[in-house]
């Protein structure tokens, strides 16, 4: 069994190892570079396209927002935030769970409420219903 595995690895030549190592380097580099989202600082709550309110993420409170269909509860818990209850049918917004990174967004289309985390550096994005 071990011999077979070793034989299998003999197919890979020295140059191939070089390419494999380069490729692994590329994977590590790309994950580090592209997935390194900064931590969020503020939470913006949108109703339709307008900012309703902005809150700091460094607190532990529950906010109740009136949307198009009813009340939406938003939990802020020291750096992370989620929808804890919403009047929509599918509850996609609740199932998204906690978000904590800058530029992450949760949208509840039926209730026309969306929340978006903003980092120290603001990046503009558009949200439209």
């Amino acid at each position: 069994m071990i011999k077979k595995i070793l034989q299998f690895f003999k197919v890979i030549k020295s140059g191939d190892w070089l390419i494999i190592i380069l490729f692994c380097g590329l994977i590590i580099f790309s994950t580090k570079f592209l997935w390194n989202l900064p931590q969020g600082e503020y939470l913006e709550i949108y109703k339709r396209n307008e900012i309703l309110a902005t809150y700091s993420l460094n607190q532990k409170i529950t906010k109740i927002i009136n949307g198009a269909k009813g009340e939406t509860k938003i939990n802020i818990d020291n750096g992370k935030v989620r929808f804890s209850s919403a009047p929509c049918a599918k509850k996609y917004c609740i199932h998204q769970g906690w978000i904590n990174k800058a530029n992450q967004t949760i949208i509840c289309i039926p209730n026309q409420i969306s929340i978006s985390i903003v980092g120290a550096k603001r990046k503009y994005d558009s949200i439209n219903y």
């Binding site: 299998f8 197919v11 890979i12 030549k13 020295s14 140059g15 191939d16 390419i19 494999i20 490729f23 692994c24 590329l26 994977i27 790309s30 994950t31 592209l34 997935w35």
Partner: protein, 171 residues
């Protein structure tokens, strides 16, 4: 009046057979469920790699392009974004093969070629997606997933191809 005749040589038969296998594999792959949308193993590339190593690069180019066109016609995606994605992936892969064809075969085997072409495939698709289909920088967030899958499937496809070539040379 002169009759124009097409001389069908053995080579054409080979291309047709290999393309048929590649198309069949693409169709099988199309119906396989994928855990992550957009990530596909690309098993048809086993045939293309096999063709390039068993025969030559020109034949590989033929098989690859025939595969892209025939598969899209069979699936009804001809000239749709899906078709252009697969075409640009194929063209970039072939282009990278043309660039790297002179790599010394003493040090670089089929595995290197497979990895290089799978990366070129991802690059080609991402350029089309960024320029045309989803012109937003947010898609680069997905790039690591595709690079990792390119690595895994590039390696697996290469190992399968080298096994195929071994089995075939023994006969």
């Amino acid at each position: 009046m002169t009759l124009s005749t097409i001389n069908i040589i053995n080579r054409d038969h080979q291309i047709a057979k290999l393309s048929a296998i590649a198309v069949a594999l693409s169709l099988i792959e199309f119906f396989l469920p994928s855990p992550i949308p957009g990530v596909k193993p690309g098993i048809a590339n086993i045939i293309i790699l096999y063709t390039i190593f068993k025969f030559d690069l020109r034949m590989g180019i033929w098989v690859s392009l025939i595969r892209v066109f025939v598969t899209s016609i069979l699936l009804g995606t001809f000239l749709s974004p899906t078709f252009f994605l697969s075409l640009s992936g194929a063209l970039f892969s072939l282009f990278s093969l043309i660039i790297f064809r002179n790599l010394n075969s003493k040090y670089f085997s089929i595995i290197s070629f497979s990895l290089i072409t799978s990366l070129a495939h991802i690059a080609g698709q991402f350029i089309i997606v960024r320029l045309w289909i989803i012109p937003h920088n947010g898609i680069f967030y997905l790039l690591p997933i595709f690079i990792i899958s390119a690595f895994i499937f590039g390696l697996v496809n290469a190992l399968v191809t080298s096994k195929l070539l071994q089995l075939n040379s023994k006969k």
